[in-house]
Symmetry: C2
Subunit: 191 residues, 2 copies
């Protein structure tokens, strides 16, 4: 039972007329997944937030009301599903940091989970939103693992330049908003 990290911060930017302004990063990814689902491109869903339920009331036959519950640490990542027969698994994170992505943003067991998915033949990655730059990158698990290992003796974050070099910048569009499966196509092609 923990204080659940705030994931609801806004997908904002200082630039004017930006399509994503005011919409949360999470919502934009959900909207993108909805687009994939409706167009039968992929079946990728956000997992519900894990909750420890302690007390439930039944004020009427029609409904139960949860009166006491606590956030739990998620044991896996937020998103998974299937695309072109491949298992897809990822976590989406945003940072206000301009120069790096702090590894404290992601739980160790989530990194382990992403690595495990990769080892079992799935495609796993992190979507990183740099709010200040208004840029979204897809970074494959192998790099997350690499930089996590480095953090044990060195810097506790992945430099923006490193993400720029090894990750994929995802251009925003109208529909879908964050077409990360285009990048997955490249990754599949590379084998």
């Amino acid at each position: 039972m923990i204080n659940y990290p705030n994931k609801k911060s806004k997908f904002t930017t200082n630039k004017i007329n930006h399509s994503n302004r005011g919409m949360s990063f999470e919502n934009i990814i959900n909207e993108t997944n909805e687009y994939y689902l409706v167009h039968d491109i992929a079946v990728i869903h956000k997992k519900p937030i894990p909750i420890q339920i302690v007390k439930v009331d039944y004020p009427s036959r029609s409904g139960a009301v949860i009166k006491e519950a606590y956030y739990k640490i998620p044991s896996t990542t937020d998103y998974n599903g299937i695309y072109k027969g491949r298992h897809i698994d990822f976590e989406a994170k945003e940072t206000a940091n301009k120069t790096s992505f702090p590894l404290s943003n992601i739980h160790l067991h989530q990194i382990n989970h992403l690595e495990s998915i990769l080892n079992h033949g799935g495609i796993s990655f992190l979507l990183i939103f740099f709010k200040a730059k208004d840029e979204i990158y897809l970074l494959e698990t192998k790099y997350i693992v690499k930089y996590y290992k480095r953090s044990k003796t060195g810097r506790k974050s992945i430099k923006y330049e490193e993400i720029k070099e090894f990750g994929y910048l995802i251009k925003e569009g109208y529909s879908p908003r964050v077409d990360y499966l285009k990048v997955i196509d490249e990754i599949i092609k590379k084998g």
Copy 2:
């Protein structure tokens, strides 16, 4: 916001000395998945129960307490993950019925979801526990869809004999308890 169906009924049997006695079907599947995870055989998790959170208190810095929340209808199935590079997706259901599995036990959108996973190259199915017979069957999505279609004009359930004929009986073991991946191996072999 709905009254969440009772999934916690006990995995009980009238037979004596039965290994599963008193343990819920859900717990046995979770234990099996834990076995697969620990032995690095597969990465399959139960999704959290979807909850609509309405009110959260912050009585202290260390923790948030959810004071009002409601169960939501799940939009997908309970379990998914990866095994031998294949996307796995299933729902687990139990019934006290001795002669058939009532299709009312499973939401239409869950059937659609299972079919969608199948169409995208994944392996999807239902695990059905007949409590009175103390038998667990794995039934592939193609049969669920077939019998669902029949239910529109005919019987609203799948006969036990049909499940016995087209499904796979999963023998219970000590560890893992319900080794459904053995059946998945057969399904993969058949292509």
